[in-house]
Each structure stands twice: as structure tokens, then as C-alpha cells.
């Protein structure tokens, strides 16, 4: 907006500040005299476009005509799922003969062997310990349900991602007009919003959870696949052609194997997002750890909730580390020619043998199959005591802090944003879009911001904007200095990397548990949970941004006699700004996605609208509220990215 001031000699351009001043004037006028244009202050009920009802009607039609088909698909998907459940958690009964589930000793051992295969002794100990922990603390049954869902979901998500990634790579038109917009929506619409139609189409139980999870988890695989294929060196592509590969041979035998390292990064992300989603989806009837946490929270069984939550953390850490190590692994030496299967895959063979052996033994020694109850530990009372102690001794302090935050920061911002007339807000978004990237972005921002207004969700939307803004603000306030600190000290960086890795590994739902215990339900709890969830991105991007500042610039600054502080403030931070803005962008997007989860602890924003629609099985309402969130996310993303790009261009940095 201050473009003119910065470039006094720029060609005379339209005085945008006049438009901004006009918007501010309208805003103040309406605030003082709301009677002048009541329709602008509050969107008139009569003008609400019943998009929710239309969607609901369309869905009814779909269900009426396709339910048989979709239920058939559900039944087909259910088969591998039930097999996985049986193998890992429940055991089979075929004709009166009971085949036990895999012994816990076996699974924990197999996890350790997998850790050894991909990451050596340290990872073997870590993953073995993680599973041992789950068994010892009596979370085995639920954890195996969750693991079974993950194991079945991941191949689905990966296959879906590969398929669409390949299509996007092959056809630019398809990518521009269908795949990329779909990805944007799939990553920004809260999963709760599309759960309703999926539930209606595919019935209840774990199958819809699986489908929702695949939709939620495959976008990073699509992007990774497309990127990986694009990055295959041109020489290798020419080689495939010159060797006389058919199209199929070129793709499957040359392109995809060459792109494997990048693809594995995508697979790793799919695994983590699947776990994240499975935890959430388990609340709609898939069962597992997420369900345990939710039940414990609802019953105020703090210790039990924390324990189940810790089991999620442990499972997440094991899966994250093993899959990350598998992604980073390099092939070393080919096995000697003529080796048998066991010789080619020693780890796999040993793991299978170990699983079979222990499971067989568990028929005689039940303790191997299921850890006896009296051998499990519980720290539930311990955690309950701690929380109780904190609540007794520190309640006043915590409550005072909470009240202060609410009264002096949260509420004023809420009132301010809520007081902006909707046409002014929409116009401001469009104007900003125009200034940053021209009329196309202006149109996009204007239309997308108009959507929640015409669907009658404006008040909830502004609550969302408020909670998201304040959370993103605090995330950046904490994260950017931490990131800058880490960038300048390798010791801090090492510690920070562990923290950030862990924060990013944890399923979003986990953050709610301690926060709700200490701060009770409400906006402050939601905000703190969001900040914890989103702060990792602010830290990571800031560190990366500062790191990529060319070292010769810093040397030049030092040669000119800049103090370390001057170097940091006058060289590093300004040059890192575009990268930091992308970090802010991710922070905002993560905050928005977390917002929906916080609906579980009683916020009143769009997230709540989505959640409420889920409980009422109101598909139309859920989708409209979900789309509103998605549109907010897309507008925020496009505006910030356009701003960062402008900044880069002005600084003469390469475009990314």
C-alpha cells in the first residue's frame, strides 16, 4: 500500500491510498451511524443464498442414485481393513478354530527390526522401545486398531497420490484446471466437512474414515510425484527414449525409480498425515487411540486421556522416524547374483520369522500375545495428581493470565474485526489482491470472501479470522525470534530441530489435551493449542530463510564494520523476509486447519459450524462452512504468496 511512498519517482499511478482512506471512512461512518446502511453492517437474512440447501438436495439425489454403488465399494474396501484389524488386533475365528492376532512381542520386535533395516541400531532401539511403551502402558489394543487403519490407508493414499501426480505430470491442462484446484480444496477444506457426504454415501464404521483419510493424506503425494517426475534429469528421459522404451516402460522402469528419493519424501508425509487423520476419524466410529482420548476428555479422566495421548505421540514418533529413515536410505551394494529371497531381503525374512514364531508361542504362553493386565503400568493417577496440583496451586495465576489475555487482547480484536462491515472487508481483500498481483487475484479474493457473506456465515467467518489472526500473530511472535536464534547458533539449531520435528510429528489433536486441562474450554485454550501446532512452521521457515542469505553479503557487511546486531537486523532479516513470509503463510494455513479441531473444545467459529453439521449429518451446511474456511485459507495463501513474490522481485532474488 505504501508503494508510492517507497518509489517517489515511479510512474504516476493510481493513488491507491485514496481508496484505502475511503474504505476506512466508510468503516468509521457505519460504525458511528449504523442506520445509514443496515444491510452493510449486518448481512440481511432475506438475501442469504441457500447454497447449503442446494448442496443438501444434490447430495440427497446422489445418495438416492448411487448409494448402492458406493456401499458396494465400501464393502470391498472393508475386506482388507477387517483382515488388518484381525491380524493386528482381534484375531480370526474360522470354523471354530481361533487364530490369534500377532503377538505384541512379535510386533515390537518387528518394529525394531524395521528400524534396524532403515536406520541402524539407534533406530532399532527407539522403535522397539516405542512399541514396548505402548504395551506396558496398556494401550496395545487401541494402538493396534489405529495402526491397522494406518497400514491400510497409506497404500490407498500413496496409490491415489501417484495416480493423480502422474496425470498432472502428463497433462498440464488437467493439472491447471482440475488437479491443482482440487488439491487446494482438499488441503484447505476441513476433513470434518466432507465426512458427512462420505458417511452418507459409504455408511458408518471404519470405511468412511479410511476414505476421508485418503482424501486428506494424498495431496502431498500428488505434489511430490509431479515434482519428482519433473526433476528427472533430461538426459535420463532422452536415454529412455533412445533405448526404445514404450511410454509405460519409460514411466515405470526409468522415471519413477529415478524419482524414488523424492517420492519417498511424499510417502513419509502421507504416513504422518494418515496418522493425524486416523486419530480424528476414529472419533466417527473407527475406534482406536483418538476415541480413547476423546472419551477420557469428555469424562474428565485427565490421567487416562494423557496416557492415550502419549501413546499417540509414541506411535507417531516411531512411524515418523522409520519412514523418514526409509526415505533417506541409499542403496549400497547389490546382493550377490543368484542369492535366494532370504539373502536379498534379510531383515524382512527375519521379521516375518520372528512374528510367526512369537505368535505361535503365544498359543502356549498367552503373556506373549497379550501383556497380562497386572503387568501393565499406568501413570494415569500420577498425571491426574499433577494436573490437580497445578490447578490447586496455580489456578489463580493461570486464570488471571487467561482473563487478562481474553479481556485486553482477544476481545478487543474480536470486536474490531466483528465491527468491520462485510462489504468493506470484501473490498479491502479485493483491493489488496489488485495491488499485489492484478485483477485476477482481486477477483478471486473478492468472490471468495463474498461467499461466506452470501451464505449467511459472516459472523462466524469473522470469528474465524479473529482467532486465526491472533494465533498466527502469537506463533510468529514466538517462532520468528526462535528461528533467527537457531539460524545463528548451530547448538540452538540442533535443539530446535528436535523440538520442531517433534511438534510437526504430533497429530494435531494431541495439542488440545494439556491445554484444555489447564485453561479449560474457550478461546484462550484454542489459541494456545493453535500456537503450539503452528509455531513450528514459523521457526522452520525463518531459520531456512536466514540460512539462504548469501554468505558473501554477510562478509561484506562484516567488512564494512557492522556489529552482529546490525548484520542481523539490517542484512539477514530483510533478505530473509520473503522466506519468512512463506513461513507466516504456512503458519496461517496450519492455524486455520487446527481451528476446526479446536471446535471440539467449544469455539463458536466456522470450525464449530462444520463440527455441528457433522453431528447433525447436515452435509450441505458442513460443506458450505468448510468451503468458507477453505476460501479464507486460499485467499490468505494467495495474498501472502503474492506479497512475498513482489518482495523477492523488488530485492532481485530468484523466483521460487
Amino acid at each position: 500500500m505504501t508503494d508510492l511512498a517507497l518509489h517517489p519517482r515511479a510512474l504516476p499511478r493510481f493513488p491507491f491510498w485514496l481508496l484505502w482512506a475511503a474504505l476506512a471512512a466508510i468503516c468509521i461512518t457505519l460504525w458511528l451511524e449504523p442506520g445509514i446502511a443496515a444491510w452493510a453492517v449486518k448481512y440481511p437474512r432475506a438475501m442469504i443464498v441457500p447454497i447449503a440447501q442446494w448442496i443438501g438436495a444434490a447430495m440427497k439425489w446422489l445418495i438416492a442414485h448411487f448409494q448402492g454403488f458406493t456401499r458396494g465399494i465400501a464393502a470391498a474396501i472393508d475386506i482388507p481393513l477387517q483382515v488388518a484389524f484381525a491380524v493386528l488386533a482381534k484375531g480370526f475365528t474360522i470354523g471354530g478354530v481361533t487364530i490369534p492376532r500377532l503377538a505384541w512381542v512379535g510386533v515390537a520386535g518387528a518394529a525394531a527390526i524395521a528400524g534396524h533395516a532403515f536406520g541402524g541400531m539407534r533406530l532399532a532401539v527407539l522403535s522397539g522401545f516405542c512399541f514396548l511403551y505402548i504395551a506396558l502402558f496398556g494401550q496395545w489394543d487401541s494402538a493396534m486398531l489405529t495402526l491397522a487403519l494406518v497400514i491400510i490407508c497409506v497404500p490407498f493414499g500413496v496409490a491415489l497420490g501417484l495416480l493423480f501426480g502422474i496425470l498432472a505430470y502428463r497433462s498440464k491442462k488437467l493439472d491447471d484446471w482440475f488437479i491443482r484446484p482440487s488439491l487446494d480444496l482438499a488441503q484447505t477444506i476441513p476433513a470434518f466437512a466432507y465426512l458427512v457426504p462420505i458417511l452418507l454415501l459409504f455408511g458408518s464404521g471404519p470405511v468412511p474414515a479410511l476414505i476421508a483419510t485418503a482424501i486428506f493424506a494424498s495431496p502431498p503425494m500428488v505434489r511430490a510425484t509431479k515434482l519428482a517426475l519433473e526433476q528427472v534429469p533430461e538426459d535420463i528421459q532422452s536415454f529412455a527414449d533412445m533405448t526404445g522404451c514404450t511410454r509405460r516402460q519409460k514411466l515405470w522402469r526409468v522415471m519413477l525409480p529415478t524419482a524414488r528419493p523424492m517420492l519417498m519424501v511424499g510417502v513419509n508425509q502421507v504416513i504422518m498425515m494418515t496418522l493425524n487423520m486416523v486419530i480424528i476419524a476414529s472419533m466417527i466410529g473407527a475406534g482406536g487411540l483418538g476415541y480413547d482420548v476423546l472419551m477420557a476428555l469428555r469424562a474428565l479422566k485427565i490421567g487416562a486421556g494423557l496416557e492415550a495421548g502419549l501413546a499417540i505421540v509414541v506411535l507417531a514418533v516411531a512411524l515418523a522416524r522409520i519412514s523418514a529413515a526409509a526415505a533417506a536410505r541409499r542403496v549400497r551394494h547389490a546382493p550377490p547374483a543368484g542369492a535366494k529371497f532370504a539373502g536379498r531381503h534379510p531383515h524382512f525374512t527375519i521379521a516375518v520369522a520372528w512374528l510367526a514364531l512369537t505368535t505361535l508361542l503365544s498359543l502356549g504362553v498367552p503373556g506373549l500375545g497379550t501383556l497380562p493386565k497386572d503387568m501393565t503400568l499406568t501413570t494415569g493417577p500420577f498425571w491426574a495428581n499433577i494436573v490437580e496440583w497445578i490447578n490447586i496451586h496455580a489456578f489463580d495465576t493461570i486464570d488471571a493470565a487467561r482473563t487478562w489475555l481474553l479481556l485486553s487482547i482477544l476481545n478487543p480484536l474480536k470486536n474490531f474485526l466483528g465491527g468491520i462491515p462485510w462489504p468493506v472487508f470484501v473490498a479491502a481483500g479485493a483491493l489488496l489482491g489488485y495491488q499485489l498481483a492484478g485483477w485476477r487475484l482481486a477477483l478471486l479474493a473478492g468472490l471468495m470472501l463474498l461467499f461466506p457473506a452470501v451464505t449467511g456465515l459472516w459472523d462466524k467467518t469473522m470469528l474465524t479470522v479473529y482467532l486465526c489472526t491472533i494465533s498466527a500473530f502469537f506463533s510468529c511472535l514466538i517462532g520468528i525470534p526462535l528461528g533467527a536464534w537457531a539460524a545463528n547458533s548451530s547448538r540452538v539449531d540442533r535443539i530446535m530441530t528436535v523440538i520442531v520435528d517433534t511438534l510437526q510429528t504430533l497429530p494435531s489433536f494431541v495439542y488440545l489435551i494439556p491445554v484444555v486441562m489447564l485453561f479449560r474450554i474457550g478461546d484462550v485454550s484454542a489459541m494456545i493449542a493453535i500456537v503450539f501446532f503452528a509455531v513450528a512452521f514459523a521457526i522452520r521457515y525463518t531459520t531456512a530463510g536466514i540460512r539462504q542469505v548469501p554468505p558473501d553479503l554477510i562478509e561484506a557487511a562484516r567488512a564494512m564494520g557492522c556489529t552482529p546486531r546490525q548484520i542481523q537486523w539490517r542484512v539477514q532479516l530483510p533478505l530473509a523476509l520473503p522466506a519468512v513470509m512463506l513461513g507466516i503463510n504456512q503458519t496461517v494455513l496450519m492455524a486455520l486447519s487446527m481451528l476446526v479441531i479446536t471446535a471440539l473444545v467449544g469455539t463458536k467459529d466456522l470450525g464449530q459450524a462444520v463440527y455441528a453439521a457433522l453431528t447433525k449429518a447436515d452435509g450441505g451446511g458442513g460443506l458450505v462452512a468448510g468451503l468458507s474456511i477453505a476460501f479464507l485459507a486460499i485467499v490468505a495463501d494467495r495474498l501472502i504468496v503474492a506479497g512475498a513474490r513482489r518482495l523477492r522481485r523488488r530485492m532481485g532474488l530468484p523466483e521460487t
Binding site: S238, T243, G244, T246, R253, P257
Partner: protein, 347 residues
């Protein structure tokens, strides 16, 4: 400039009036104006990578396309192998128009008749040396024992025996390119394309690999189309060289012809620093037949640098004989010395 036919050998690969024009609407533009000028193309927002190139490449010949970056040499190579479609012109392999071949035919031709070596090796990172070399046979569906036997054979040929189970990232650049060469030879191609194969290697290794290539060629006698930006490399390897600039072939000839009669200043700039004695043959500098008592003889095709010690030792002109053992001239020591020090010593 006049086209020089490959002596009296059979022509293996030929092209006629090949153009590659980049940009939107290039085909339509070329259809209206089959011989566009650079200015005309620029005005239409187009860019010619290859301009009106016609070549005849003889069987068993080492044909080098030499040019600086942006001269269109790699584009020409890709037009000849049809990795990219020429905008206009024809390419004949054994007299058959390659540009008319359908996709299935092209795949067949490439599987059996062509091999290519790449600047950055283009090895498949997930396959061992053996599997990389056998890959072209694998996709043809050759059974494992047969293709592995053939792969071992060519791996041995390029001097990498014993490294069959290694992966590409465990090999040095020179070794990787040996794998690339072995792989391109696995299908016994008739046409061998090499796209700057040694440019990514250290100078020392590069020299070693050039010698290796000459050794292989003396055994295999492939028709070789070799692209390079290194004039010394071209001189060392070539039977004939085509020098390219701005998409055009500006001179075509043997290394000797280029050195002795550069077509223009651009070519002369390359040849100026070449050691003439390494390029010039006795035939080009010999004098008329003279009676001499010397017992030394030289062949017309011998390079001056190779025979200089013997001729200078002899002290008086020595007879020059052709491939039919007929005396066709004589070579005086003074001529040899003049050539060695770079003086224009042509008779």
C-alpha cells in the same frame, strides 16, 4: 558451401535441409517461408536452433559436430536421432526416412540400431552396473541369462570387469561414463550417438577416455556421431568435423582441411592454436618425386608429428607412398621442420 561426401563409403545416415525452429507457430511459419532469414524469424518471435543442415555420414565414420554452447550442435544431434522433431527436412537412415517412421517403428529402430551416450551419464541410480548395462536388453524382453551374459561382455570391453555389483553413485565420473558407453553398446547398435560424453570429466580422465574410445572404435567400427565443444577433442577423434555456429554448419571437412583451409575467421580462431604437425599428413606437404638413396619411406596418410624424427634423421628427402605402395612424392626434412614450428609449409 559445398557438401563433402564421405569418400566412397556407403552412406549410413544422411539429412537434407533439416531445420529446427523453436517457438509458437513455427510449423506454419516454415510452411509459408521454407528459407527464412534470422531477422524474419526473430520478428515472428521464433528462434532457429538448426538452420538448413544437410549431411552425409558414412558407415564406420567418426563424425564430429563441433560448436560452442548455443550453436545448435546438441539440437542437431537430437534431430538426427529424432529425440526432438525437426521442423522441416528429412533424415535418412540406410536410405529410409526416419521422420516418417511411426511410434512403433521408431521404438524398434532405436532398440536395435541406435545407442547413445550422454553428457551427464544418465545412469539409473537404482540399478547396479550390470542391470544398468543390461537395461536396454531388459526392456526388449531378452531373457535374464542371455542379457546378463551380453552385459558382462561389454562391461569387460570397457574395462570395468569386477564392478558389476556396484551402484552408479559408488563410481567415479570416468567409471560412470564407461558404464554409459557399455550400456549404449549392449544392443550392438549400428549408429552410435555421443552427446558431449567427456565434457563432464576432468581433463586427465578426458584424455584417457578419448584414447579408450579410439581403441573401442578400432575394434567395433561403428558409425559414430559425436558432439563436442572442444576443438582439440574433435581434432583428435574425428574422421570429419562439422563446425556449427548459430544453427548452421559453417564448415565441413577433415581435421587437416579445417586446419589448412579454414573457411572463415571463426573457424580460423579455433585452428590457430592447433599443433599443425599433429593434423597435417605427409600427402598435403610432400614435394614431387625425387630420386633418393635413403632407405626410409613414409605413408601419405602419416601425420607429420609421427614421422618427424625419422625424416629429420634421414637428412634428405624421403619417398612418400600411397595405400597401393606406389611412390607418389617426397618429403624433405626442411618441410617437416617448418610444419613442426607452425610455418605454412604447403608445397
Amino acid at each position: 558451401m559445398g557438401r563433402i561426401m564421405a569418400n566412397d563409403d556407403r552412406v549410413k545416415l544422411a539429412c537434407r535441409g533439416v531445420w529446427k525452429v523453436f517457438g509458437r507457430g513455427a510449423e506454419e511459419y516454415m510452411a509459408n517461408d521454407p528459407t527464412p532469414t534470422p531477422d524474419g524469424l526473430r520478428a515472428a518471435g521464433l528462434m532457429a536452433g538448426v538452420r538448413d543442415v544437410s549431411l552425409d555420414i558414412g558407415e564406420g565414420e567418426i563424425f564430429i559436430v563441433m560448436g560452442l554452447s548455443g550453436s545448435g550442435k546438441s539440437t542437431l544431434l537430437r534431430c538426427l536421432s529424432r529425440l526432438i522433431e525437426p521442423t522441416a527436412g528429412q533424415v535418412f537412415l540406410d536410405g529410409i526416412d526416419l521422420l516418417r517412421a511411426g511410434e512403433a517403428d521408431l521404438i524398434e529402430i532405436r532398440r536395435h540400431k541406435m545407442g547413445m551416450v550422454f553428457q551427464h551419464f544418465a545412469l539409473l541410480p537404482h540399478l547396479s552396473v550390470l542391470d544398468n548395462v543390461a537395461f536396454p536388453l531388459t526392456i526388449q524382453g531378452v531373457p535374464r541369462p542371455e542379457r546378463e551374459a551380453r552385459a558382462r561382455e561389454v562391461i569387460e570391453l570397457v574395462g570395468l570387469g569386477g564392478r558389476e555389483t556396484a551402484f552408479p553413485n559408488q563410481l567415479s565420473g570416468g567409471q560412470q561414463q564407461r558404464v554409459g558407453i557399455a550400456r549404449s553398446l549392449a544392443v550392438k547398435p549400428e549408429l552410435w550417438f555421443l552427446d558431449e560424453p567427456f565434457s563432464a570429466l576432468d581433463p586427465l580422465i578426458r584424455g584417457e577416455m578419448q584414447a579408450e574410445l579410439l581403441r573401442l572404435q578400432s575394434v567395433l567400427k561403428k558409425t559414430m556421431i559425436f558432439v563436442t565443444h572442444d576443438f582439440d577433442e574433435a581434432i583428435r577423434l574425428a574422421d570429419r568435423i562439422a563446425i556449427m555456429k548459430d544453427g548452421e554448419v559453417i564448415q565441413l571437412g577433415t581435421p587437416e582441411q579445417l586446419v589448412l583451409e579454414p573457411a572463415d575467421d571463426y573457424v580460423a580462431a579455433f585452428t590457430r592454436n592447433v599443433q599443425r604437425a599433429k593434423v597435417v599428413t605427409a600427402r598435403s606437404v610432400m614435394g614431387p618425386i625425387r630420386n633418393t638413396s635413403v632407405h626410409q619411406i613414409v605413408r601419405a596418410s602419416d601425420k607429420i608429428a609421427d614421422i618427424a624424427p625419422a625424416v629429420i634423421e634421414a637428412g634428405s628427402p624421403v619417398p612418400v607412398i600411397d595405400e597401393h605402395e606406389m611412390v607418389i612424392g617426397s618429403l624433405a626434412p626442411q618441410v617437416v621442420i617448418d610444419t613442426l614450428i607452425g610455418k605454412d609449409a604447403r608445397a
